[in-house]
C-alpha cells in the first residue's frame, strides 16, 4: 500500500534521526533504539539460540556490535533490516564459536515477521516469560477490542495498516488533530493495562 509505505517512511526517518543522534554521541538515543527493538531482536536470536539466558547474552552482544558499527550506517537500508542482519550474524557466530551448527537457510527480516506461529511452536523461553508475553498480547488485544469505535479505528489504521495521520484523517473524515488525539487516547488506554504487568515484571527476580 502506497499510503502505508509513506507512513512507514516517517517511522524510518525517526529511526534514522535516532541513529544520527547516536552517531553524534547521544547514547540516550541508542537507549531508545534498544527499547524499541530489543524484544523483536530477542525473537530473531531466539530462533538460533533458544536457551533464554544464552539468548539474552547474544541479543546484548548484537546490540553492542550494532553500536560499534553505527558510525558506518549510512541509511541505505532500513535500520531494522540492518540490525536484523547483525543479530543473525551474531547468533550464527555464537553457535560456531560453541561448535554448534547454525541453521542452513536464512530468513530475511521481512519474512521473519511472518514466522510468528512457527517460532511459537518452538518457543524455548522460560514459562514465566511466555506467560508474561501472552498476558501482554492478550491485554493489548482486549483493550483495543473494548475501545470506542473511533479510537479503535484510528489506532488500527495507524498500527496495522501503517497509514499516516493525514491518510487516516481523510479516511475518517476528521481533522488531523483529531486523529492525533484519538491515537493518543487509544495508546493511553492500552498502556493503562500494560503498565501494571510490566511493573510487576520489574520487581520479579
Amino acid at each position: 500500500m502506497a499510503a502505508g509505505a509513506a507512513a512507514r517512511m516517517g517511522e524510518e526517518e525517526l529511526d534514522l534521526a535516532l541513529v544520527k543522534r547516536v552517531q553524534a554521541g547521544d547514547n540516550a538515543a541508542f537507549d531508545l533504539l534498544v527499547r524499541k527493538y530489543q524484544h523483536r531482536i530477542g525473537a530473531v536470536v531466539g530462533r538460533f539460540v533458544p536457551e533464554p539466558a544464552e539468548c539474552q547474552d547474544v541479543v546484548q552482544d548484537a546490540f553492542i556490535r550494532a553500536y560499534r558499527a553505527l558510525p558506518n550506517f549510512r541509511g541505505e537500508a532500513q535500520f531494522y533490516t540492518w540490525l536484523y542482519r547483525i543479530a543473525v550474524n551474531t547468533a550464527k557466530n555464537h553457535l560456531v564459536a560453541r561448535k554448534r551448527r547454525p541453521p542452513a537457510s536464512d530468513v530475511s527480516a521481512e519474512d521473519a515477521e511472518h514466522l510468528d506461529l512457527a517460532s511459537r511452536l518452538h518457543d524455548h523461553d522460560t514459562p514465566e516469560r511466555q506467560l508474561l508475553r501472552q498476558e501482554i498480547e492478550q491485554a493489548v488485544a482486549d483493550t483495543v477490542a473494548q475501545l470506542p469505535e473511533e479510537l479503535r479505528q484510528a489506532i488500527t489504521l495507524r498500527e496495522v495498516d501503517g497509514l499516516s495521520y493525514e491518510e487516516i484523517a481523510q479516511l475518517m473524515q476528521c481533522p488531523i488533530g483529531t486523529v492525533r488525539s484519538r491515537i493518543f487516547r487509544a495508546r493511553e488506554a492500552i498502556d493503562a493495562r500494560l503498565r501494571p504487568l510490566l511493573d510487576n515484571e520489574r520487581v520479579r527476580p
Partner: protein, 222 residues
Amino acid sequence: MSREYLHDELPVDLREQLCAWMDGELPADQAAFLQRRLAHDPELRALWERWQLASACLRRQPLRLMPADMGECLVVQVQEATAPRRRHWPWAAGLAAAVLLAALLPRMTVMETPPALPESPRMAAEATPLAAPPRGPMSPVNDGPRATEDVLQPRPWPRSPLAPGEREMEAYLVRHNALVGDQGLGGFMPYVDVVVHETDAQAETTADDAAETDTATEDERR
C-alpha cells in the same frame, strides 16, 4: 479503562508529543525539545518502550521479552567501552603521581642535603665565620632605618666545611712554594697578598658607594 495507571507524573502534552513523535508526525522544533527531554527522563523512556511493545503486539510481530533493564545495561556497557581514555586519565594520573611522589620524596629530601662527608669537628671549630659583604645600593628600595640597621650587623659568611684554616693554608702555600722552587718553575706566588688586596679593594669600592657599609668593612678588616 483503569485510570489509576495513567501517567500522573508526566504532563499530558508531553505524552501527546511522544505519541506523535513515535509515528513520525511531530514538527521538528517540538521533536528536538522532546528528544532533549527523553535523554533525561527515564519515565518518558519507559513509556516509549511500553508503547513500542504495544505497537509490536498490534502488528503481531514475533517477540521474545528481554529483561526490563537491558537497555540501561547496554547503554552503560557502550559508555564504558567507548568512553575516552582521558576521562579516566586525570584521577589515574593523579593517583600515579601521588604514589610516585610518595616513593621519591624521601630520596629527594636526602639528595638536597650535601654529600655525606666525614665531618671534622676540629676544622669546623676553626672555621671562622666571615663577615657578610656590605649590602650596597644594589637594591633601589629604601628599607628605612631598620634595613640600615640590618646592613650594619655583620653576618657570618657561609663557608665550606672543607676550607682549611689560616694555618693550614699558610703551611700549604709554603710547601707548595718550596716544591715549585725546587723544580725550577719560579718563585713564590703571592697568592695570599692578591687575595687580601682584592678583598680590600672590593671593600673600599663598596664603601665609596655606600657610606653606611664602612662599619661593616672595618669589622671585616678586624
